[in-house]
């Protein structure tokens, strides 16, 4: 997925655990249903935290893209 398709992009690279997840939660809360939120994270914890939270909070992890030194998470706000 191209970066341009996200409703909002958060660059949380360099932020330690659980910072990227907290940023994602904030963006989801502020967003509208159907929004695509992109989070860039270099935190290892995000690889497990973001999928765990998305499942628990019943949103949709559309895609996880490994990049060089970080990962790109695309989450759709479902409710």
């Amino acid at each position: 997925m191209a970066t341009g398709t996200a409703t909002r992009s958060i660059d949380a690279r360099g932020m330690p655990c659980p910072g990227p997840l907290m940023s994602l939660i904030g963006a989801i809360r502020e967003g509208q249903i159907g929004d695509l939120i992109e989070v860039l994270s270099s935190d290892e914890g995000s690889k497990t935290d973001i999928p765990a939270w998305v499942t628990k909070a019943k949103h949709d992890l559309v895609e996880t893209v490994p990049e060089d030194g970080f990962a790109r998470f695309i989450v759709r706000k479902v409710r």
Binding site: G26, K56, A57
Partner: protein, 135 residues
């Protein structure tokens, strides 16, 4: 066990490493929808004084020079900011132990607004589901 029970923490230690670890646990629990019930005693309570919360509180003895250097190098968000975020996204109550408040001769006004109230130990226990973690 549905994994949704209250996380109850007794925080005794007032060094930045333990407070940082506490804040991360609290934030994780709040993110996952668990209520969090925190009881601040002794040196942890001291670290929440309004005029001290942003000061350097050092690290536990096992950190040593190398551990302290690693903490400083890693930097990151202050634990008080992580706790504020956790309170913003979830149900997080932070109580000051009445005994420790009395020992220090302070009042609620001397404590950072992150602290919700002063409680006796039995009132804290009233909100404990099962286990308590001691930090």
């Amino acid at each position: 066990m549905d994994g949704n029970g209250t996380l109850s923490l007794v925080v005794f230690s007032g060094t930045d490493d333990k407070l940082q670890a506490t804040a991360v646990l609290v934030a994780g629990a709040a993110a996952m929808g668990r209520p969090v019930n925190v009881f601040l005693q002794y040196w942890a309570l001291d670290a929440f004084r309004i005029d001290r919360i942003r000061k350097d509180h050092g690290a536990a003895p096992e950190a040593g020079d190398e551990g302290l250097a690693a903490m400083q190098r890693h930097g990151g968000q202050h634990w008080a900011d992580t706790l504020a975020q956790a309170k913003d996204i979830g149900e997080v109550a932070i109580h000051a132990c009445a005994l420790s408040v009395e020992m220090f001769g302070i009042t609620k006004d001397d404590l950072d607004p992150l602290v919700d109230d002063i409680r006796g130990v039995a009132a804290f226990m009233a909100d404990v589901d099962d286990a308590v973690a001691f930090i």
